[in-house]
């Protein structure tokens, strides 16, 4: 059985329950872990099964590769321009 955020699964005893108290509690209890913990835990979970550490890594790699690509293009263009900036054939 899948549980929701407040865990409605399970066969709980009647005498130890109070629907009104529980409703007030559910409306009040909304704290969640900080985002940096989410990221660290999910990255560790992926690493443990040999999967990439996460989108952040892909983005970093993408940025690095993109940067290198731009540098390469600039270098290529420089080689095809004369000192005055005119493009050479």
């Amino acid at each position: 059985m899948a549980l929701n955020e407040h865990g409605t699964g399970g066969a709980n005893g009647g005498a130890e329950r109070d629907p009104r108290l529980e409703r007030v509690y559910r409306e009040a209890a909304h704290e969640t872990p900080p985002a940096h913990l989410d990221a660290a835990i999910l990255a560790a979970a992926r690493r443990a099964v040999g999967q990439p550490a996460g989108p952040e890594l892909h983005e970093r790699r993408g940025r690095v590769l993109g940067g290198r690509c731009r540098e390469g293009c600039r270098h290529h263009e420089d080689r095809h321009e004369d000192p005055d900036g005119h493009r050479l054939r």
Partner: protein
């Protein structure tokens, strides 16, 4: 949510027949309706997406349980991370022996006990003290007229105060019920006590909270 495709191991021969049937399906994909146990088995078999789904389901409840039990955000953060890291490390040996929530909160309970031991914050409450308290049953709140002017936020704030004032073991029983969706039996399993003790803790917790809310009105 997109499902995974990793196969499910058949190491479940110790389980009742209906559980074996559920967990011996070959290479089933998981989805949003998959049980926690199925997700954990998929993660054990290498599907990180199944872990993400499991984490999304339980991160809030587990975090609030730890936060209210240790009453220190920095310590709760540390314990929260430790519990999940323990789960990640233990994944290779995971077999379904109980509901996943019982397993998860058992790990969290043990980690909290270590924390109390180290920080010497533990308040030891004997079972005699808990069970011997004379708590009169409050009148049935449902019979009282609804107080229209009661501010919901103040009401919620008062309940949080009352929860924080509960003895540690009673607070834990209440939180395991509310955040873990656990039955009395599961609370007993997670905290390593008898069913009767768990039931008694939960009953006292509820009684004090009810009485506190009525007195406050």
């Amino acid at each position: 949510m997109k499902g995974g495709t990793a196969g499910i191991s058949t190491r479940v021969s110790h389980l009742p027949a209906e559980w074996q049937e559920a967990y011996c399906q070959p290479a089933m994909a998981w989805n949003a309706e998959s049980s926690d146990e199925e997700l954990m088995l998929h993660y054990r078999d290498g599907d990180a997406g199944a872990f993400e789904a499991l984490y999304a389901r339980h991160k809030g409840g587990l975090y609030r349980y730890l936060l209210r039990q240790c009453r220190n955000a920095a310590a709760a953060d540390e314990l929260f991370q430790d519990v999940w890291m323990n789960l990640i490390r233990a994944r290779a040996g995971y077999t379904v022996q109980a509901r996943f929530t019982t397993f998860l909160y058992r790990v969290a309970h043990n980690r909290l006990v270590d924390h109390y031991r180290k920080s010497k914050q533990a308040t030891v409450v004997s079972l005699e003290d808990e069970d011997g308290e004379a708590i009169a049953d409050p009148p049935d709140e449902r019979e009282r007229p609804q107080d229209e002017t009661l501010d919901a936020k103040r009401q919620a704030g008062r309940l949080m105060e009352l929860i924080s004032e509960l003895p540690e073991t009673q607070r834990e029983a209440f939180l395991l019920q509310q955040e873990g969706g656990m039955s009395v039996e599961e609370i007993a399993q997670a905290t390593g006590v008898s069913r009767e003790t768990a039931k008694s803790r939960l009953r006292y917790a509820m009684s004090k909270l009810r009485r506190g809310m009525l007195e406050w009105r």
